[in-house]
């Protein structure tokens, strides 16, 4: 049976066999880079068509159905359109920052890919502070939005960027706390160790109520962090036309668009890793027979299945709820989510010390 890790090992061995170790590492890096860019493109295409289909079915529409079978190549056609479109720069804009911002958004999303474990023993960088790395890098994404908003020389963009700044900085806190609760239980910042610790059951089941609370808070916080409805104040369409990317067009807009979807994928992947066991199949305690049956499903399918389930959840929210107001958004964070997650982390710590989990 082949798996991602076997392929990776095979490539690693054959490269080391033919080239010197340094050259082999460099070639591996290039391969990884190409793979990440490829994954980006695929994710962008898949998630856009998924969002359009989900929204269409919720809104009793058919959705795209012209390009390819059932409209599955619609996002490909859209990409071509965006590629050939003229990328305008407004006359009063700060040209350097204006052109830099979308790339920063994309690079942040790329960096976040590094510690993710896509399948068993298949990871770009097995970092021993993986969780810390993810929460540190994800905060950088606000810079690209602020940069875009400021440099556009547009009041709508500026307001969108300021909203986004306030929003991401606040929700970073509760997202961090909810991630921390799993770290406390697993006793490690290493994503791989966290996944291994879920071999006898995912944390959302093992950690019962407190972890479920952190899971809910995590979902809310990352929805806000990725600027998705109902927290899409940074680009609140009916208020700020398009918020921070009002002035962007063509490929630069597409990069923001892509970064948004890749960010959604990454936060969902992290949620799946921390709370739903990442690539770990569904195991129940010591039911070895059952666990064996579950092991037959490849680990990558488990990982992507869980991630796409969370993505669907976030999309479902988006097409159901109205948008919050900026003060309500901050109220929700500072008056509800933050106190609850502070109390929750205390509970989780007590639980971890006393061993009150399965």
């Amino acid at each position: 049976m082949w798996s991602f890790s076997k392929i990776a090992d095979l490539v690693h061995q054959s490269l080391n066999h033919t080239f010197s170790p340094t050259l082999a590492t460099i070639i591996e890096m290039v391969i990884v880079g190409v793979c990440v860019i490829g994954l980006f493109a695929v994710l962008g295409l898949v998630l856009v068509i998924m969002e359009r289909k989900v929204s269409a079915w919720i809104q009793i529409r058919l959705g795209p159905n012209r390009v390819g079978p059932k409209g599955m190549f619609q996002s490909l056609a859209d990409t071509v359109k965006l590629l050939v479109k003229e990328g305008m720069t407004p006359s009063g804009a700060d040209k350097f920052l204006f052109n830099l911002a979308p790339y920063i958004a994309l690079i942040v999303a790329m960096l976040l890919m590094a510690p993710l474990a896509f399948a068993k023993d298949f990871q770009m960088w097995d970092l021993n502070i993986g969780v810390l790395y993810v929460s540190a890098i994800s905060s950088v994404s606000v810079i690209s939005i602020l940069m875009a908003g400021w440099s556009s020389n547009n009041k709508y963009s500026l307001m969108g960027a300021m909203r986004s700044g306030a929003q991401i900085v606040s929700y970073e806190l509760s997202a961090g706390f909810s991630v921390l609760s799993v770290v406390v239980l697993a006793g490690s910042l290493n994503l791989n160790t966290i996944i291994q610790s879920q071999a006898d059951g995912w944390w959302i089941f093992k950690g019962h109520i407190p972890v479920m609370i952190s899971f809910v808070i995590f979902i809310i916080a990352v929805t806000a962090e990725t600027n998705r409805a109902p927290f899409d104040l940074a680009e609140a369409e009916s208020e700020l036309t398009a918020g921070f990317h009002t002035e962007y067009s063509g490929m630069k807009f597409a990069l923001f668009f892509l970064a948004e979807y890749v960010n959604v994928f990454i936060v969902c992947a992290i949620g799946a890793t921390l709370f739903l066991g990442g690539w770990m199949p569904f195991h129940i305690g010591h039911w070895d027979g059952f666990n064996h049956v579950m092991d037959y499903i490849p680990s990558s399918i488990w990982f992507f299945g869980k991630t796409f389930f969370l993505i669907f959840l976030i999309m479902w929210f988006r097409w159901t709820f109205p948008r919050l107001r900026i003060d309500q958004l901050l109220n929700l964070e500072w008056k509800y989510l933050l106190p609850i997650s502070l109390f929750n982390i205390l509970l989780v710590t007590a639980m971890a010390i006393l061993g009150w989990y399965f």
Binding site: V54, W57, I58, Q59, I60, R61, L62, N65, W316, F317, W319, T320, F321
Partner: protein, 158 residues
């Protein structure tokens, strides 16, 4: 009790969100509720009601005869100057000069489909057609002559 009230509030709030999610979830899973009509594809099965006001046409019978007497009632009734009746004098069978239409010019681009000309017509010479795809590349094509070339007035219509 403050805390009971608070919990009840939070519970109701979350419940209201779940009610909405259930509704959208229902539509997500029930594709038979989809109401999209795939318009250019369903042209053949498209049913427009017989009263639909698409454009003004003048029906002709198989002998290329229409019912228009050239009374200009439609031209007077039209609020936009959409219809222009150009009359001529025909020599009738009995040798008398008779007023008849030469051309009935209809400017579709000016028409608002208000139906006033149809009501005004005393001899039911013009009716509304159930067409709606009026876009053309040349604006001149929207100026139409409603009577067919060589058409005559129907026998017995005064």
């Amino acid at each position: 009790m403050f805390i009971v009230k608070y919990i009840k509030e939070v519970f109701n709030a979350v419940k209201s969100l779940f009610v909405g999610l259930r509704r959208t979830g229902y539509y997500f899973t029930h594709h038979k509720e989809i109401i999209t009509q795939q318009y250019p594809d369903n042209r053949d099965t498209l049913n427009l009601p017989e009263r639909f006001k698409g454009e003004v046409v003048m029906p002709h019978n198989e002998n290329n005869e229409h019912r228009c007497t050239g009374c200009t009632a439609c031209e007077l009734a039209c609020p936009n100057g959409t219809i222009k009746v150009i009359t001529k004098f025909d020599i009738g069978t009995d040798g008398k000069k008779k007023k008849a239409i030469d051309k009935l010019v209809y400017h579709l681009e000016l028409c608002t489909m208000c139906n006033l000309c149809i009501i005004a017509c005393p001899s039911d010479a013009i009716v509304m057609a159930q067409t709606f795809e009026h876009s053309v590349f040349d604006r001149a094509e929207l100026t139409k002559i409603l009577n067919n070339p060589g058409s005559k007035i129907m026998e017995g219509v005064e």
